[in-house]
């Protein structure tokens, strides 16, 4: 088979054994790779109801058919498991040298099972797997851990590691790589920690199987040059993703003070222009053509890589407008291995709850030193507050009570990314139906919605756009796997991706040929959630209550007096279900599942829950 190695590496940390397994070309074409491989493996192998932090959970590291090939932005890897934060399917992607090295070691996926007896470093190369002691780095942050690994294996090695947050089972701990890259928002780092797996190191040297390697080499080289040139013209990399912050502030979509407000006159102090002026280094993923990791010095003179999400959620969302302070909180999250989106969301929620008298403490929005202390307590699970907040916003709200769940900014337990959707119905839907909880990567409809549609509309066109974007972003890009940035930011057309796929696999796919796989992946993720939550209903696809609360409407600015409406949102949600072929609970119907080739998976689901 061309395009895939055809092999999966299965590792058992309990028995310290490993074996190579094979898959067929038909299986590869059905699930493509990355997220597709991950959800299929986890659905088939995980028993519903297991504790995500128990040895029974499995961590899947999966790459795709264009991963690691020298072509624009193909350096990403998916990490997935049952989420300790949401209890459903969880995944994320991150740029890492593991992408290329795992392929060159002869694998398209790694499945990690069991639990080690002691802190362990898993070493993988072309011929062997070793279970090495990691006591020396257990308890260390991700930066020191990374340095320790580089000193022993060289900077060219593929590395995935966790910090103290993963070790201490913070439910939104991420997996880190290359010092600045992170992935797995719904607690993939905690899954590693639960297995006493501090790091994975991969070295590989075999050629990646390709149908037309010479043609791919030339195509990748030419396209890398072209995209580099486009980026220079667009000047995107001068601010990276932080350029979007003033736009969000302008259109009243910025999270300020736990999403209470949507804009702030001081937002310019933490925007892309300020970051561009303070940038001391720029970092990116392997094969990156448009590096988004802009590093500046924080209050302790440490390099901290900022992007829009962490700038928004650790800045205005906490009432902080000193960019060096934001950089410090970001550095701390990165070193502890805490997801910056959820970290900012949890801290903002806590300050809100304290201010409203629902939670103990004296923290206030704008209290930089206070947030530092709380963040450290979370990473160490120190004290009652540290422990409670380490559980994530939803669990913390349930612990605090006093109706605090109404302003817990999360969907399905995952904290909302940095887009305040008080009056942006389509983006609110995108968060509501995101298959891992409220994450922006699946369907970032917001700019289309503001620019090209009546903002106040709840029309079917918006639901259709959410589906279209999910197919491209959460479906194709997460499966093949590639970073989406060149597509929208500098107009690198989607037609390039089937070209890479075909040159590598020898197939003859058009762009539309990816959509059945994308829909299949989304449907199977739904079944995964259904087995875990058999009594689920459409309320699970609702965004936070705060976006519907008239008392929470802006009192001034572009959307003064406006707020989402439940009945209209519900109609928009129904449009989404109708387009997707889901029932009124948001579950794919039996007919839809059969159309997508998921009849056997449907039968498994029916052992636990009803299908329509």
């Amino acid at each position: 088979m061309h395009g895939w190695t055809g092999q999966i590496l299965r590792v058992d940390l309990t028995t310290r054994t490993w074996r190579r397994e094979t898959f067929t070309e038909e299986w590869a074409l059905t699930w493509i790779g990355g997220r597709g491989f991950a959800v299929k493996i986890l659905y088939d192998e995980l028993r519903p109801g297991i504790d995500p932090l128990a040895p029974e959970n499995k961590l899947v590291v999966a790459v795709g058919p264009i991963s690691g090939i020298s072509a624009p932005n193909t350096g990403k890897t998916v990490v997935a498991a049952k989420s300790p934060l949401t209890g459903g399917y969880g995944d994320g992607n991150l740029g890492t040298r593991v992408t290329e090295k795992l392929r060159k070691a002869g694998f398209d996926a790694l499945i990690v099972e069991g639990r080690a007896e002691r802190p362990t470093l898993l070493y993988i190369d072309d011929t062997t797997v070793e279970f090495l002691p990691a006591d020396e780095i257990w308890g260390k942050g991700t930066y020191e851990t990374n340095d320790w690994i580089y000193a022993r294996y060289g900077k060219g090695a593929g590395v995935l590691n966790i910090g103290q947050a993963g070790e201490n089972l913070v439910r939104y701990a991420v997996i880190r790589s290359m010092e600045g890259r992170a992935g797995g928002r719904p607690g993939m780092g905690a899954v590693m920690g639960s297995k006493l797996l501090k790091a994975i190191v991969v070295k590989g040297s075999q050629p990646i199987p390709q149908a037309f390697p010479a043609e791919m080499k030339a195509l990748g080289r030419d396209d890398m040059r072209t995209v580099h040139a486009l980026d220079q013209k667009a000047a995107w990399s001068k601010q990276g993703t932080t350029g979007v912050l003033p736009w969000c502030n302008e259109v009243a979509a910025l999270p300020v003070d736990n999403f209470r407000r949507t804009h702030h006159p001081d937002a310019w102090r933490v925007d892309g222009e300020r970051l561009a002026a303070a940038t001391v280094a720029v970092y990116g993923c392997p094969n990156c053509t448009m590096q988004c990791g802009l590093a500046m010095l924080d209050t302790e003179r440490r390099e901290s890589e900022l992007d829009y999400e962490n700038m928004g959620l650790l800045g205005p969302n906490l009432g902080l407008f000193d960019i060096t302070q934001v950089a410090t909180l970001n550095y701390m999250c990165d070193d502890y291995g805490i997801d910056t989106i959820s970290g900012g969301g949890v801290l903002g929620f806590y300050a809100d709850a304290v201010e409203r008298g629902a939670a103990p403490g004296d923290i206030r929005f704008g209290d930089f030193e206070g947030f530092r202390r709380v963040l450290t307590a979370i990473a160490q699970r120190d004290g009652e507050i540290g422990n409670t907040l380490a559980e994530g916003t939803l669990r913390a709200a349930r612990a605090f009570g006093h109706n605090s769940e109404e302003y817990a900014m999360q969907c399905k337990g995952l904290e909302v990314s940095a887009y305040n959707c008080k009056f942006i119905p389509g983006m609110a839907l995108a968060f509501g139906v995101s298959p891992i909880g409220a994450h922006h990567k699946e369907s970032w409809i917001i700019s289309y919605e503001i620019q090209q549609t009546p903002r106040e509309s709840y029309g079917r066109d918006k639901a259709q756009k959410v589906v279209d974007l999910q197919r491209i972003r959460g479906g194709m890009f997460e499966a093949i796997i590639s970073c989406r940035f060149p597509w929208v930011e500098i107009g690198w057309g989607l037609e390039h991706y089937p070209k890479y796929f075909n040159t590598i696999t020898g197939r003859d796919w058009e762009l539309e040929d990816f959509w059945p796989s994308a829909d299949r992946i989304y449907a199977l993720i739904k079944l995964f959630w259904l087995r875990e939550f058999p009594d689920t209903n459409r309320r699970a696809d609702y965004p936070p209550h705060a976006w519907f609360d008239p008392a929470n409407a802006d009192t001034e600015g572009p959307i003064a007096g406006r707020i989402l409406e439940y009945d209209k949102y519900d109609e928009l949600l129904q449009h989404y279900y109708d387009i997707r072929g889901y029932d009124d609970r948001g579950i794919p119907t039996r007919e839809t599942l059969e159309r997508l080739g998921l009849a056997s998976e449907a039968r498994v689901a029916e052992e636990y829950a009803r299908l329509s």
């Binding site: 000047a235 892309g272 999400e309 700019s447 572009p558």
Partner: protein, 75 residues
């Protein structure tokens, strides 16, 4: 009439940062403003008026605040 124009993101590096107040004749459209900036294809940017999207053929009005942004796909 006087309006305010602000360019953000990569556009600020291409055309100059900061807000600028400028005088424009009545009947000026958003597309006219973009063309004057050297942006010939309005589809390549996001343009808002007072926080709401504005189409290229819509006329601007006294006191409007126009923000022009490159396209984004998220953070």
């Amino acid at each position: 009439m006087r309006i305010t124009v602000k360019l953000i993101g990569g556009l600020a590096h291409r055309f100059g940062a900061g807000e600028r107040e400028q005088e424009v004749p009545p009947g000026t459209t958003a597309g006219d403003l973009l063309a004057a900036l050297g942006i010939s294809d309005p589809r390549t940017v996001l343009t808002t008026r007072n926080g709401w999207g504005i189409a290229p053929d819509e006329e601007v009005a006294e006191g409007d605040r126009i923000l022009v942004s490159p396209p984004f796909s998220g953070g």
